[in-house]
Symmetry: C2
Subunit: 206 residues, 2 copies
């Protein structure tokens, strides 16, 4: 069980690294960073499938109840969240690669994307610690981490849709997708927080 908990944290750390690579790729127009993010997905998918198999064996052979059962059932959802976070990092990196050597992020929203990257990174790092410690108080803090991201995302859409937008439709479409990927990444960290609270307390946060 301890091994399974450590593995969840490890997978989450891998998706944190993937997103931070993807953000670096985006802001520094770095193909190397993009390839790192894209290349990380196979290992994450493999680890997630392996985790599911272990969880299934544990359910079949040990018939856990109470806390242990919540950990396994909750963990199955967390694995899905973490895997999806890695997938979203890959989506971000692929847009950078598609447009390379052009910049995807115009100067006017560079600061916004820097902050979106920071929020994503902070939430992912907090998710890793929350999973490592299975700490419901840390998990509680995760629940509100998406608010900062939602504000940044709304600001991004408003900027791209404003009369003053000078960067054309292609850039606006790319940025809309990117914004959505960061927002969803963050949503999954909130879900991880909710699941850890449920595992630890038996009560789903409303």
């Amino acid at each position: 069980m301890e091994r399974l908990s450590g593995e969840l944290a490890q997978m989450c750390a891998a998706s944190e690294t993937a997103m931070s690579d993807a953000t670096e790729a985006l802001l520094d127009v770095s193909l190397a960073a993009a390839e790192r993010a894209i290349g990380s997905t196979d290992e994450l998918d493999r680890a997630a499938a392996e985790w599911e198999r272990s969880a299934f064996s544990l359910l079949a052979l040990q018939s856990p109840v109470a806390y242990d059962l919540r950990f396994v059932v909750g963990g199955l959802r967390v694995v899905a969240d973490v895997q999806r976070m890695g997938g979203l990092a890959v989506h971000v990196a692929k847009i950078t690669r598609l447009r390379h050597p052009d910049h995807v992020v115009p100067e006017v929203v560079r600061d916004l994307f820097t902050r979106m990257g920071e929020v994503a990174d902070r939430q992912a790092a907090e998710s890793v610690e929350t999973l490592r410690q299975l700490d419901p108080e840390r998990a509680e803090a995760l629940l509100h981490g998406d608010e900062a991201m939602d504000e940044l995302h709304a600001e991004l859409l408003a900027t791209a849709q404003s009369e003053e937008w000078r960067y054309g439709v292609q850039a606006a479409v790319d940025l809309t997708l990117l914004g959505r990927f960061y927002e969803r990444f963050c949503d999954h960290t909130v879900e991880i927080g909710r699941r850890v609270i449920w595992i630890e307390t038996g009560v789903a946060p409303s």
Copy 2:
């Protein structure tokens, strides 16, 4: 167990209806249809939470193994997919409501969205039947249903990003998000197919 399987199909049918309402809202600029889609989410979330509780009780009290355990574990993932499909329908409906009484979909991509709505509806209807019958052959057919959607989605992005785009940035941003919501909706039906195959055969499709 039969009850749980029927409930999965029922929830999936609810998300199918929500998406078909959302598509109607979008194409007919119908606020009533948008409100129907948006209003359906509470019941779906309640049913999904209830399903999870039943599955947890079943694991705790009956310690199922083999097929029965696969059904419950796979079902927990299917519930998440179905719930998310409902959420995506709500996102589509909310864009319609936000822009009402303006059209969101310009004439040039109306046919594209009609077809995206049809693919989403067909995949969702097939998912309902697959869940009702737990039929791995039906599930197999679901696996390729996202290809048609991916093509339509690529065509939409290419249209919005082309030199000939005459509908401005705001419309392009809205359509980018809408396209993404339809594409993700379809991805979840593929996931349902994969899960049903795993439940029935014990082997995850590659």
